[in-house]
């Protein structure tokens, strides 16, 4: 048992480091450590790998909050409110809120995993390509929520992101799209998400700072860390519905194979905004946005294990790597796994509890030190961030220099977009979701004789359409109301 806890601790700590370095992900962490697990039996190996998984997903909140660069794609929404909080000097509070929300998300999804795996797995099968397409579409409605006051520009940027996600080879026919001949090798699988993400956020920000003249640090003018609001568990007062809703949404997204963590946090974030008493504060440093994002992306961890352990198909990219750990030990995961290996199943649940608790301990207590990063002089900080970004981009495909050029290219793109007032977040969301949107659309229509009516025939599909319509209607109304108030001279 001691070995297991030791390995879980190692996994969680290393996972947090992977998650915290922009460009490194939980999936990479698990893949790197996978061959080493051969030296152990399956149970210790699972403690190590699940530690890496939980740590890797959680660590992404650190750079998202401190430097506005999502450490992993699933923490894209964390920076929307976390970074403004850090700029107000509340970095420690924001980090602790994020860590606590992550912990709750992980534990709630674990409860779902422990008690509802078989019925949820049966439900997951009922979600065909039609429903998955609609869920991705639903996640895209967050673009409307993020574009308040400039919806046309936001939607345009979103579509631009979708267009860019289609660059590369179309797997349906192995034909290249929008790829110049001289980049056929480099762009065969399109632009990579991580260089684009860190380019748009980190590098673009550095260009902006360079233009303005470098600030001494990332805090707003006149703000000090010492005078800022401190974390207390009462920050969660009135947020329990948000925590549970977002965690369950994350868990649910994890259960659906092929719908990633980014979609989970985007949907949770937009739902929180719809239900919020103060939607106008979200995106400006509201803890509820941070809670939604972090509880949903950690909620994904338990959810993604549901189809893996009951159907044999992974819920996300990281659990796809976990299958390798089982196979290396000669164990098949599939519909009979839980019945045939109840002892391993129990150990997995125990390992997840252990890893979530360790993640909380490892992150929560030393965070005071980490949060001081905001006070570090930008002139010293930026070279380190730049180096980390370049390493992360280079590691995306195990050492492809083209990805480093893309990092710089999208840094320039982000800088130009900011200059002309095109929001980068919708652009990124369009890019993240565009590929899956097309994939499930083609799969749905192909499986149904190219009949578009299939999107309106199944009951689940109709429910998702209703949600999309309600949310879009609300966003448009909210946008118009905001515009009217602005004309009247009333500020948020």
């Amino acid at each position: 048992m001691l070995l297991n806890i030791g390995l879980a601790l190692l996994g969680t700590a290393v996972g947090i480091i992977f998650g915290a370095i922009p460009g490194m992900t939980a999936t990479m962490a698990v893949a790197v450590f996978l061959p080493m697990t051969y030296a152990f039996s399956l149970v210790p190996a699972l403690y190590l790998l699940l530690g890496l998984y939980v740590g890797g997903i959680s660590g992404g909140l650190i750079p998202a909050i401190l430097i506005n660069v999502p450490g992993t794609p699933s923490s894209v929404c964390t920076g929307f409110d976390g970074y403004p909080m850090a700029r107000r000097g509340e970095s420690e509070r924001a980090l602790k809120i994020g860590i606590t929300a992550s912990f709750f998300g992980g534990m709630i999804s674990l409860i779902v995993l422990a008690f509802l795996t078989p019925p949820l797995a049966k439900m997951a099968i009922k979600f065909s390509a039609i429903e998955k397409f609609l869920i991705i579409l639903f996640a895209m409605t967050v673009i409307a929520a993020l574009s308040k006051g400039s919806m046309t520009k936001g939607v345009f940027a979103g579509f631009l992101g979708v267009l860019l996600s289609l660059v590369g080879e179309l797997s349906m026919n192995n034909k290249m799209r929008m790829v110049p001949d001289f980049l056929k090798t480099e762009l065969r699988s399109g632009f990579q998400l991580l260089p684009l993400l860190i380019g748009l956020f980190a590098i673009a920000q550095m260009f902006q700072e360079a233009e303005k003249g470098m600030q001494s640090n990332n805090l707003e003018e006149g703000v000090t860390v010492e005078g800022a609001k401190k974390f207390s568990f009462s920050d969660f007062k009135g947020q329990w519905v948000n925590v549970i809703r977002s965690s369950l949404l994350g868990t649910f997204m994890g259960i659906l194979p092929g719908v990633g963590g980014s979609a989970a946090s985007l949907i949770a974030y937009s739902q929180t905004k719809s239900f919020s008493k103060h939607p106008e504060l979200m995106g400006k440093g509201a803890p509820e946005g941070l809670i939604a994002s972090e509880s949903s992306n950690n909620g994904l961890t338990g959810g993604a294990l549901v189809p893996l352990l009951s159907l044999g198909i992974p819920g996300d990219a990281t659990t796809a790597v976990l299958i390798g750990a089982f196979l290396l030990q000669g164990i098949q995961v599939g519909p009979l796994f839980i019945d045939q290996h109840p002892e391993i199943w129990n150990q997995i649940l125990l390992a997840l509890v252990t890893c979530n608790i360790l993640m909380f301990i490892v992150m929560f207590f030393p965070i005071k030190l980490i949060s001081q990063v905001v006070k570090v002089r930008s002139a010293r900080m930026y070279p380190v961030i730049l180096l980390m970004c370049i390493v992360g981009a280079y590691a995306t495909r195990s050492g492809v220099m083209f990805d480093v050029w893309c990092l710089l290219l999208f840094g320039i793109v982000g800088f130009v977009m900011n200059k002309i007032g095109l929001p980068t977040a919708p652009f990124l969301i369009g890019f993240i979701l565009g590929g899956d949107l097309e994939k499930y659309f083609i799969e749905a229509v192909k499986g149904n004789n190219y009949d578009l009516a299939v999107f309106f025939q199944r009951p689940i599909a109709l429910v998702i359409w209703a949600l999309i319509a309600i949310f879009l209607g609300y966003s448009i109304w909210d946008n118009m109301k905001g515009g009217t108030l602005e004309k009247m001279g009333v500020k948020d």
Binding site: A31, L34, P35, Y38, K122, I125, S128, A129, S171, M172, N173, N174, T185, R188, S189, P257, G258, L311, G312, I313, P314, A320, V321, I323, G324, L327, L328, G330, Q332, V333, G334, P335, L336, F337, D339, R397, S398, V400, E443, K446, G447
Partner: protein, 337 residues
């Protein structure tokens, strides 16, 4: 001045004292790329096992890098030909070029072919357990019985699954006529889990995959909605004489019973020196003789049948030529959508 005996003695002394030719790999860091990004497929599993034994026999520090076909092929084209980067991959290496998915620059002639490290006989087609046919032969009869029937097979373009589809199509055409063969429909698959979901979503009737990946779904007690059965396996799996093997069902390739195993070979960048390949050959020969290696491969339902580089090259060229002939008789798979 010096007599012949003296000079000969000096020469013998020098030769004896000279260090033995240093091994190329000993103490080196080696990168093994594979043409798959999945760590649960046969490409990774074979490479992982081979990697452990290469570390043992080459005394090097090596690492398997699952970077996918595009990146792996590009790496073999651009890596330094010093043997420190090589690829372990199966027949897709040349099938991608034969099917036109990759350009001629990726042809076998542009690589150095190393030894074969193993085989996987388990490439197969599976259908839902309640499908109205028990194997591919019965499927042919089922199609023949009603010309309005179609069957949708989920495969990937330019891969072994594409070949499995084509071999069956050509045999169907030759045995039952073109009309029956044209009742087959191609559905683009993806990873094993994508194909399973296509089957469960009723977006495909028959899916291609690996014997071991489907094994649990074929067991008794699996929920009806998830349960599968093997309808065609491309080669004999040891210990499973009950499976419908292509060749045993009468399916032929180039006039002979069709048996196809995936052959995993080491591929190196063009210009790799002979001594590098020789050292790999020696290590692979030791693996072949190691009962633990054979056991590890068998545990995963793979075969540890190795071949030295020279024979492996002749073998894979001949295999490619035979498949090229079959492909010349087949239509473009996309025309069967």
């Amino acid at each position: 001045m010096f007599n012949k005996r003296f000079i000969a003695s000096i020469l013998v002394l020098v030769l004896c004292c000279a260090p033995a030719a240093a091994a190329v790999y000993e103490g080196q860091r080696v990168r093994i790329v594979i043409g798959s990004t999945a760590v649960s497929g046969d490409s990774y599993m074979v490479a992982d096992i081979v990697n452990r034994y290469l570390q043992k026999y080459l005394k090097c520090s090596s690492k398997v890098d699952p970077i996918g076909a595009n990146e792996a092929f590009a790496t073999i084209r651009t890596a330094a030909p010093d043997g420190m980067t090589f690829m372990i991959f199966h027949d897709m290496t040349y099938l991608g070029v034969l099917f036109g998915s990759y350009g001629p620059e990726y042809d076998l002639e542009n690589m150095v072919i190393g030894p074969r490290v193993g085989q996987n006989p388990g490439s197969c087609f599976a259908a839902k357990k309640n499908a109205p046919y028990k194997d591919l032969k019965e499927l042919a009869e089922w199609l023949k019985a009603d010309s309005s029937r179609t069957v949708r097979l989920s495969v990937e373009l330019g891969s072994v699954s594409n070949l499995g589809f084509v071999i069956y199509y050509v045999w169907l055409k030759d045995t039952y006529g073109e009309n029956v063969a044209n009742q087959m429909r191609f559905v683009l698959g993806g990873s094993t889990d994508t194909k399973l979901q296509q089957l469960w979503d009723n977006n495909a009737d028959v899916i291609f995959g690996d014997y071991s990946s489907f094994l649990q779904y074929t067991a008794d007690g699996v929920d009806e909605q998830l349960a599968l059965k093997y309808v065609g396996i491309m080669d004999k799996v040891p210990g499973r004489d009950d499976l419908p093997v292509y060749g045993n069902m009468g399916i032929t390739m180039d006039g002979k019973p069709a048996y196809f195993s995936k052959d995993f070979l080491i591929y190196l960048p063009k210009g790799t020196p002979d001594e590098v390949v020789k050292e790999l050959d020696e290590a692979v020969a030791k693996m072949q003789a190691d009962p633990q290696y054979q056991e590890d491969m068998a545990k995963m339902t793979y075969a540890g049948n190795t071949l030295p580089s020279k024979e492996a090259k002749e073998f894979i060229y001949a295999k490619r030529a035979a498949i090229k002939k079959v492909l010349s008789e087949a239509p473009n798979i996309e025309d069967l959508e």
